[in-house]
């Protein structure tokens, strides 16, 4: 599949954001905030940085992408459809009975989904396993995992962070989508997980901090992560929850509510 430049990825983000709004509006439920905050990161992965073939999703040498914060799966479905994993028309079946597009990712239902997530805090461990197996088998793939700054409340994440550093899993790149908001409110008020870069460094991870909506910065950080050796790599991506739709931005109430017809129209007009 074609590899897009950073500028082309910026343009693709508009398409992805439109899909997110449209599929959530069609479903009538879901989580727009965390999909919109990670649109640049996930788009950069699927259209440039992941080595993957939508027609051979089980290729043992593929790069892996695991969406640990599974509720943000609309952004992944949008990118997968645009890459050709499944027809774009299928996005309209999100959260419907008999659909392959489950409300949270389900491994085995939709080719290309690497892990069943949605019960938060588990994706980094599963990513550890893929990274470890790659080392055992001498395969050169990388494993990317996306976490949330609310999700990392979960203790298992820190067990997994210890394990990855202890075993120097340098084929593992974690991206913390730091959008500052979890379901009940701002992470600073619910359970403060800052300072994020210092925490990951203390756990033995090489860590960079970027503007998660700056495509050039996202590209540079992912390149740095792929090249880094001898420890796992963490990208703390500072993002805006609901990015791209003004009335959703930085609003905790848009964590898990789908837009109605009017809101959908306003959102699409803003995205352009």
């Amino acid at each position: 599949m074609p590899v897009l430049s950073a500028a082309e990825c910026v343009a693709k983000c508009k398409v992805v954001r439109r899909h997110i709004i449209e599929m959530l509006a069609a479903a009538g439920s879901g989580h727009p905030g965390g999909s919109l905050s990670a649109t640049e990161i996930v788009t950069a992965l699927y259209f440039h940085h992941l080595r993957h073939d939508p027609h051979h999703p089980d290729d043992p040498d593929r790069d892996r992408f695991i969406l640990s914060k599974g509720h943000a799966v609309p952004v992944q479905y949008a990118c997968m459809a645009e890459c050709g994993y499944f027809p774009i028309s299928e996005l309209a079946t999100l959260r419907c009975i008999d659909s392959r597009l489950q409300g949270h990712p389900v491994k085995g239902t939709l080719p290309g989904i690497e892990a069943s997530t949605g019960s938060l805090g588990q994706g980094l461990s599963i990513a550890n396993g893929h990274a470890l197996a790659g080392r055992i088998d001498g395969r050169a793939y990388n494993v990317f995992v996306r976490l949330g700054d609310g999700e990392i409340d979960e203790g298992q994440v820190w067990e997994a962070a210890l394990f990855a550093a202890h075993h120097s899993l340098d084929n593992l790149i974690a991206i913390v989508d730091a959008n500052r908001i979890q379901l009940d409110g701002f992470t600073a008020d619910i359970l403060n997980t800052e300072p994020l870069p210092e925490k990951w460094r203390a756990f033995g991870w090489e860590t960079v901090e970027i503007d998660g909506h700056d495509m050039d910065a996202v590209f540079a950080a992912l390149e740095q992560g792929k090249a880094h050796r001898e420890s796992p790599f963490c990208i703390v991506a500072r993002t805006v929850k609901g990015k791209g739709v003004s009335f959703m931005e930085n609003e905790p109430e848009w964590h898990g509510v789908a837009p109605n017809a009017d809101e959908k129209a306003r959102a699409l007009a803003e995205i352009g």
Binding site: S116, S119, S125, Q156, E159
Partner: protein, 316 residues
């Protein structure tokens, strides 16, 4: 009663099975959570350090990591005490192992209350209830060393998630070394027609002892080893219910949601008969010697015998 020869602990059979797998299979990866000496996974680690990972005291991460390795085509074993795997990592078993049906063998040791003096925090009285709450997971509790090794090697040769509860203590020998057991096939150990005694694990020998006692009173008991709780052997259990008309189920587990419940459901669906249940009734146990614990909590041959008499009275 109680004259049965002691074999080794079923956890030692696991150690032997792992040594065999270390020497014959390149796709086997083993994880432990800082109990490798106790579970015997250390034997694999000594032979195949590149495929053995001590995850530290992190059961949740161990299970998730094991699932990721399994997703890449490996046959993965995860081990710790039964209580710690099932109670501490249950959601990881649900999301990362059972739901995607990863090829993870959950082989746990120190199951039940017979680990003894360490007390209730280390004991699993609810592990079958939890394991049976994972759809599609095979659930096995072997009674002795020879059958445990066979069943573990069969599980290693089959794709899909399997839960094993093994024991800390030396287990009474039930099977000859050359007796073949199969996952999913209950073993009829004595073929009586008056009452059926169903058991597994440590309670199997107790049930055989109870059957000998009953034989002395002219009552012929059929004793069945249901080492595999899922898939349950409907045919053998249905035939036993039909032909004996009364049944006792004995297990080292809460009497709810374990072997007794599975067998009762099976019997209800095939041929309902009076049943009695031997197990832990709404309680945790405590520190003590294994034999003392079995006596105090009602898990001896005498308890099976008493249950058999009750069910025979109900049978009329």
């Amino acid at each position: 009663m109680g004259e049965r020869k002691l074999g080794r602990a079923t956890r030692d059979a696991y150690g032997d099975a792992l040594v065999e797998l270390a020497n014959t299979r390149d796709d086997v990866v083993v994880f432990d959570a800082d109990l490798a000496k106790s579970t015997r996974t250390g034997k694999f680690g000594a032979l195949r350090p590149e495929r053995f990972f001590d995850a530290g005291i992190c059961e949740a991460n161990m299970v998730g990591t094991a699932a990721g390795v399994a997703a890449c085509g490996k046959t993965v074993f995860v081990s710790t005490f039964s209580a710690f795997l099932m109670c501490k990592a249950f959601d990881q078993l649900r999301m990362a192992v059972a739901y995607p049906r990863e090829n993870v063998k959950m082989v746990t040791t120190h199951g039940g209350i017979t680990l003894g003096q360490d007390g209730a925090s280390q004991m699993s009285v609810e592990d079958f209830a939890l394991a049976l709450g994972l759809p599609g997971v095979t659930v096995i509790h072997p009674a002795d060393d020879p059958s445990a090794k066979q069943l573990i090697l069969q599980a290693a040769a089959t794709d899909g998630p399997v839960y094993f509860r093994l024991g800390r203590e030396k287990a009474p020998l039930v099977y000859e070394a050359d007796h073949e057991v199969r996952i999913g096939r209950a073993e009829v150990l004595s073929d009586g027609r008056d009452v059926t005694l169903v058991a597994n694990g440590m309670l199997l020998a107790a049930s055989l002892d109870a059957a000998e006692q009953l034989a002395g009173e002219g009552v012929e008991a059929r004793v069945i080893d249901v080492h595999t709780l899922r898939p349950i052997d409907r045919e053998t259990l249905g035939a036993a219910a039909t032909e004996t008309g009364a049944m006792v189920v004995a297990e080292e587990h809460l009497t709810v949601a374990g072997l007794g419940s599975v067998v009762a459901q099976t019997v209800a669906e095939t041929c309902p008969v009076p049943m009695e249940f031997v197990g832990l009734h709404e309680t945790y146990a405590e520190s003590g010697q294994p034999a003392e614990l079995l006596r105090k909590y009602g898990l001896t041959a005498d308890d099976v015998l008493a249950a058999a008499r009750r069910v025979l009275a109900r049978k009329g």
